[in-house]
Amino acid sequence: MLLLAMACAEPEGWTDLERTRILSLSPLPAPPPRPTNAVADLPAAAELGRALFFDEGMSADGQTSCASCHVPDLHFTDGERVATAIGTGKRNTPSIEASAWGTWYFWDGRADSAWAQAAGPLLNPLEHGLGADAVRARVAEAHSPAFEDVFGPVSDDPQRVLAQVGKAIEAFERTVGPGASRFDRYADDLRAGRESDALTAQEARGLRLFVGEAGCVDCHNGPLFTDGQFHNLGLPTVPDGGIDPGRARGAGDVLVDPLNCRGAYSDAPDACPELTYLDPSFPDFAAAFKTPSLRNVARTAPYMHDGQLATLDAVLLFYDTLPGRALVGHRELTLRPLRLSDRDRAALVAFLGALTAEP
């Protein structure tokens, strides 16, 4: 009996629980509908959004576009520890590839749609550095008549134009997914009961740890490899980072964001259950940040909300020992030092590499 159990523990023979968990990570479903953005799936809006996304004229210095930090060749990240545009921020540039499936946006979830998110950096003095009036002027000057074709005449209300710019950018972002990976092929084979050579033995070992002993799926779950929620990891602090309240501030901000689901520019202001039931005073929001998707993670270094870990090896070493303690709030109580062998840590890193989109 013992021999049988051990034989079943090899990657070729997943347990029922492991199989269920593996299949829950793939495939990536179609993006859900976005009622607050009536043009989310309009091809003309996506084309306009693409032009806006790459428009360096949409900035105070005339040199900054969304693509300055969300670089397509880097899976829409920038490879830097923290974002630098007109100025330098305090957080790492997140990818936009998973945005079509999100609920909360920014590391602290201070926006509740991709279109509200896209409007944020345009107004941030450290990023595009514009006012809503300047956004409106640029649209009228450089994006006509494509803008009118989607939204009608350019509104006199600069906030409305700003929201519409965000909606067009969201439509573009919905055409940019993370892409299918070797892991997805492996999951397809597993679902169909086929032999699979899509993962190496080392990657399969990493997958077993990911869905089992290492507990990665506690937070990195679902086809995006994220629960979309907020957690305090108790990361070592960065010397110049100061204390970042994270979700504790973002949850309050999103409730008063004029571009939120309930706002005047939403196309479905009566259907906002996430805002209705959000508890901004939830104590564990202190210094909590959104779980990032792990798709293409091997290509989006550095890591964590402030980019303080340069490599996936460093990330795994952090979870292995959990050094230090949270300066604000407390570290997520499910976290325990993993204390893995070098071989197992390497297997997990190898598995994460199998989440990269295939060409």
């Binding site: 799926v217 679902g222 629960d227 929620q229 907020f230 259950p273 996430e274 959000l278 109580l333 499910t334």
Partner: protein, 127 residues
Amino acid sequence: MPAAPAPEGVTALGHYRLTWTTEPSPVPLAQLFEIEATLTDARTGAPIEDAEVRIDARMPQHGHGMATKPQDDPGACTGEGQARTCRHPGGRYRTRGMKFHMPGEWTLSFDVSGPAGADRLEAVQRL
């Protein structure tokens, strides 16, 4: 596949019986769901329509509750201010805006304030 029987339990002091269902079912991870509890007299089985039932959930091993503020459906109410009374036809009490944002062991709690006094039911829900 036949649906699993609805979970049920009797409150700590033995006054009330509760059965409940969720929508969606089973409870999804990190998504909003609703819960509908049916409250009956534990001895007679008669539905209780004029109680208050507060439904909440915590993860005792993590020391936290939900990151949402669920809202109890007030039922069918008449009158204003002190004279306001609410009834829950069929003894059915609905709460919206629940969310289990992490997998693991959650404790659902039902705080009942009814004709036999205050009583409480706790039930473990694994996700």
